[in-house]
Each structure stands twice: as structure tokens, then as C-alpha cells.
């Protein structure tokens, strides 16, 4: 069906700014490359667990940034500032609750995602490095949980951190030194709280974000693995190849020079 004049006008209005950006940066192409990928047939909802984990992390990052605007990382004020966030600030209970329970959601989804990758055999060649990156993300995520647990500065969080730090301290040879580095000294005090806060909201989120980018880049580079029930290579034919998706941008022919 030939396009009407009206439709062509609307399309050019939409595509012109996109083309303007694409010509100067290549970003539209990059987004297309990221979003419109070929995936194996017969993928199912299990393949969304990674995206769910990413969403959980983004929720943690955003709610964490907002909480950091009100939280005071000092032994005299930490508990009171948490009470203030929870009881006095508009929707503070909601944002803190999202961060608090979202932390559990993040860890649980990481484990589900890992179980999916393991049970589907998706960690095998050539995706071993992505499994390693994922394992590092799991460890950093757990460390996020550990450092975040101290911040409310109530009895539970204090003694749980005492126990956690002392478990670190029982590691052979270097354990006592690692415990001192965590505590920022021989005893738990104000420096421990601010150290945990700094690690929790600066060091680890940056490291996790960087590793997530690496993780995603490897997913894009290597593609999504064929599920165990998917077509085997010898059974595949031309029809199994997904057709290339039509692009977002329709390049406008431009003259050379002005």
C-alpha cells in the first residue's frame, strides 16, 4: 500500500531528530543493535530473570540515591535519621521499604538467574567468562547486603555486623587484618559506620554497574544461548533464522557538502 503524503510527513518529523543524532553519534544504531537482536527460538520466561535482576539493581540504585539525601552516617544520628525517613518524610517509609525489601529481591533474583544459567547449561563455551563476571557480581551483591545491614545502626544491625566482621577475622593468616580494615581500626566506631556507608553507596555500586555493563556486553556479543529444548544444530534450517528486524531509522539521502 503506497504511503499517503500525510504519513510521510509524520514519519519525517519523527525520524529527522533521530537521524540528526544518529549521523553525529551513532547512538540510534547502537540502541538498535542492543535491542533488536536475534534470539533463539523457544526462549521462555526463564530468560527474563537476568533483566529482572537488572531491574532490581536499578531500583536499589535509585531508592538508595534518595535515601542518601536524608541518611546521616554518624553513630549519634544514624538511627534517628532512619526513624525520620521512616516516620516523618512523605513516602519515606515506601522508599526505605523498597530499598530494604528490594535488597532481598535483588539477591534472590541473582540466585534464580544463576540457577537458570546453570540448569540450561548457558555457562558453557563460549560463555565461561560471563559466568565468572556473574559470580563476581554475586559476591559484590552479597557485600552490598552486608555493608547495608549496618547502616540502620540498631541492635540487630550492630551485632550482626560484629559477627560478620569477626567471621572475616577468623580467616587464616590475613583474617585479622581484613577485619581491621573493615572496622577501620581495632574497634567498631564512627569510622566503621562511615566506611561501610562509603563502600555501600560508592565503591560497590560503581563496581557492580561496571561489571553489569561487561556482563551485558558479553550477552550481546555472544547472543542468548539456545535452551535445552531448542532446535539442535543439525535440525536447524533456514526458517529457524529469525528475519532481521526492520530498522527504526530510515536514512535520508543527503548531498555531499553544503
Amino acid at each position: 500500500m503506497p504511503k499517503s503524503e500525510r504519513r510521510r510527513q509524520v514519519e519525517s518529523v519523527v525520524t529527522y531528530p533521530l537521524d540528526w543524532i544518529e549521523e553525529r553519534t551513532g547512538w540510534v544504531g547502537a540502541v538498535k543493535y542492543f535491542l533488536f537482536r536475534k534470539v533463539p527460538g523457544r526462549t521462555n520466561w526463564f530468560h527474563t530473570l537476568g533483566s529482572a535482576t537488572l531491574t532490581a539493581f536499578l531500583v536499589q540504585a535509585i531508592t538508595g540515591v534518595i535515601l542518601a539525601m536524608y541518611y546521616q552516617p554518624h553513630p549519634d544520628q544514624a538511627y534517628e535519621s532512619i526513624q525520620f525517613i521512616t516516620n516523618d518524610l512523605t513516602w519515606g517509609w515506601l522508599v526505605r521499604g523498597m530499598h530494604r525489601f528490594g535488597a532481598s529481591v535483588f539477591i534472590i533474583l541473582m540466585f534464580f538467574h544463576m540457577a537458570r544459567v546453570f540448569l540450561f547449561g548457558a555457562y558453557k563455551y563460549p560463555r565461561e567468562v560471563n559466568w565468572m563476571v556473574g559470580a563476581a557480581l554475586l559476591i559484590l551483591g552479597m557485600f552490598e547486603g552486608f555493608t547495608g545491614y549496618l547502616l540502620p545502626w540498631d541492635q540487630t544491625s550492630y551485632w550482626a555486623s560484629v559477627v560478620g566482621i569477626n567471621i572475616t577475622g577468623t580467616g587464616p593468616f590475613v583474617g585479622p587484618f581484613l577485619a581491621n580494615i573493615l572496622k577501620a581500626g581495632a574497634e567498631i566506631d564512627a569510622n566503621t559506620l562511615s566506611r561501610f556507608y562509603s563502600i555501600h553507596m560508592l565503591v560497590l555500586p560503581a563496581a557492580i554497574a561496571g561489571l553489569i555493563i561487561l556482563h551485558l556486553w558479553l550477552v550481546i556479543r555472544l547472543g542468548v544461548s539456545n535452551p535445552p529444548w531448542g532446535p539442535q544444530p543439525e535440525e536447524m534450517d533456514e526458517d529457524d533464522e529469525a528475519p532481521a528486524r526492520e530498522g527504526l531509522v530510515q536514512p535520508v539521502p543527503r548531498s555531499n557538502g553544503k
Binding site: V163, N166, G169, T170, P176, N180, A184
Partner: protein, 308 residues
Amino acid sequence: VDQSEHVPEQHAQVLSLWPIGVAVGVACALVGLLVSWWIVGIGVVIIVLFGTAWIYDVTRDRRPQPMAAAGPPAAGEQVERAAVGEHETSRKGFLSAMTLGLGAAIGAIVTIPPLVFAGLPPFKKGEGFVDVDVDLGPLTDFEEGQWLITQFNMFPPQGDVAERIAYVRYNGDLEGEPSFTIISNRCAHLGCPVQANGPTTPEQRRTYLAGRRKVTYTPVLPAGGFGCPCHGGQYDTEGNRTAGPPVRALDRWAYRIADGRLRLVGAYSVNEVDGTGKDANIGKYRLAQPGVHIDGVEQILYPFIPPS
């Protein structure tokens, strides 16, 4: 370009029993941690044996085959090497090396101070339990044989974080000097606060003010010794472990008597206490963190104790 070299190597899927053996060894070692060190040892042996066999199996194709007889190198090889000049540095190579080297040097120079700043202050001496001097009040406040839950502040500028609790008992005089048993409430397992197993009398609580430091005494009768609420470690009234996961006896406080007052002068670790009260023979060690073995064969795992 010849693509044949870039074909990924074929991963032969040969069913092997070695990984299963390693897994059995790991399971055995973990069970042994709960049951017996002997089973841990057996597990480690299984892991090493099967692991070695596994590695041997996997690397079979990679290992260099024994050469029959290495002939003299081909003439062409020699000529080629001479032409390229193995040790000759080109201008491009020199500049690349300089850029990388300078970048690494600058990176190291700016990275070291923050790392030192983050990592070394925790090891400064004299910030822990060792160099303190806390006034616990006049000797006349202590009744012989009575246990007191004694709460004091190690370092008032820190606020409540520096509050500590010790169990203090006056043992009467030993060779003309007053003798005290002062047991830290820090569990030797993982540092939770141990509680007295017996009735307290909070209505008899009294306080003593020494400058900015406030000391609170609550009489208690730890008939069943001391117990930890976190993981169930149990100790007798001398601080010896009687049950549960702790690795040594409860830490104690050293004290001195000055101007008729009891003063705490730092804590030390104890492996075992023989006897009771003023006649106790205390196995003193440098203050170690909770969970750290100070005697027995496990002490080789903790050769260095950071200053405190």
C-alpha cells in the same frame, strides 16, 4: 587470511569420573568440618588425588610430546630472526613503551596514597583495648565475692559506641594486694555480648562518676557461668569455655590499683584458667580477635595479630 586457525578447538565430551570424585571429596571435607578433623583429612586426600588425576586427564593433549631427536634448526629460521632483529627497538615501539610506562607510573603514584589512606590507619597502635586507663571507682565499693555487671566507657569522645561491659568480682587480698577477676563480655566465638546465667538485681544498681566517665554497677549472681545469646557458647564463672563454638576462654581485663581505686589497663586473651578466684592460674596471651585460636595446633593459622 587463513581462517582455519581461528576455528575454536573441539571440546571432546568424554564422560569422566574425576570431577565426581572431587565433588565427593569436597562433600566429605565439609561434613568433616562438622564431625571430625579426620574426615576433613580424608576429604582433602580425595580432592588432591582426584584433582590431580583430573588435571592430568584434561591436559593430556596439551602436554608436549617427548621429542624424538631435535634436529638442527632450519636455515631459513635463522635468517629470518636475524633480519627482524629481536632486540632492536623501533621508534613506534619505544613511544608505545614510554606511553604505557609513564601511564603506569602516574597511575601508581595517584593510586598508592588513597590505598594507604584506606588501608593503614586501621593498624595504628593504641586505639583498641590495649592502651586504656579506666577508673572503676574506689576499692571500698567492692564487696568480696560479689559479681558486678560493670558498664563503662572506654573513650567518652566516641559516645555510646565505646560503652563496654565487664564482669567484675573482688576476690579479697592476695599477698597484701587486692585481687580482682575482671572478665570481658566479648564472646570468644564471634564477639557477641555474653550474659550472666543467673539473676541480676537491677534495683541495687549504682553509678560512679569519674570525670566524664560514668560507670554503672549491677550486682549479679552468675550461678551458671556466662552464656552467649548468638550461637550458644557457654563459659564457667572463670571464663573457661564449657560448651558451644568458642575457641578459647573469655578475654580478661588487666587492672592496677592506684590511689585506692581500681583501674582497667587493657585487655588480654586467655586460653584457659586453672583454679578459681585469686588462686587462679591464668593462661595469658596477647589480645586476639574473637574466633582466633591462640593455642593448640590451630594457632599456626594466625601467626600475625594486628596491633590494637
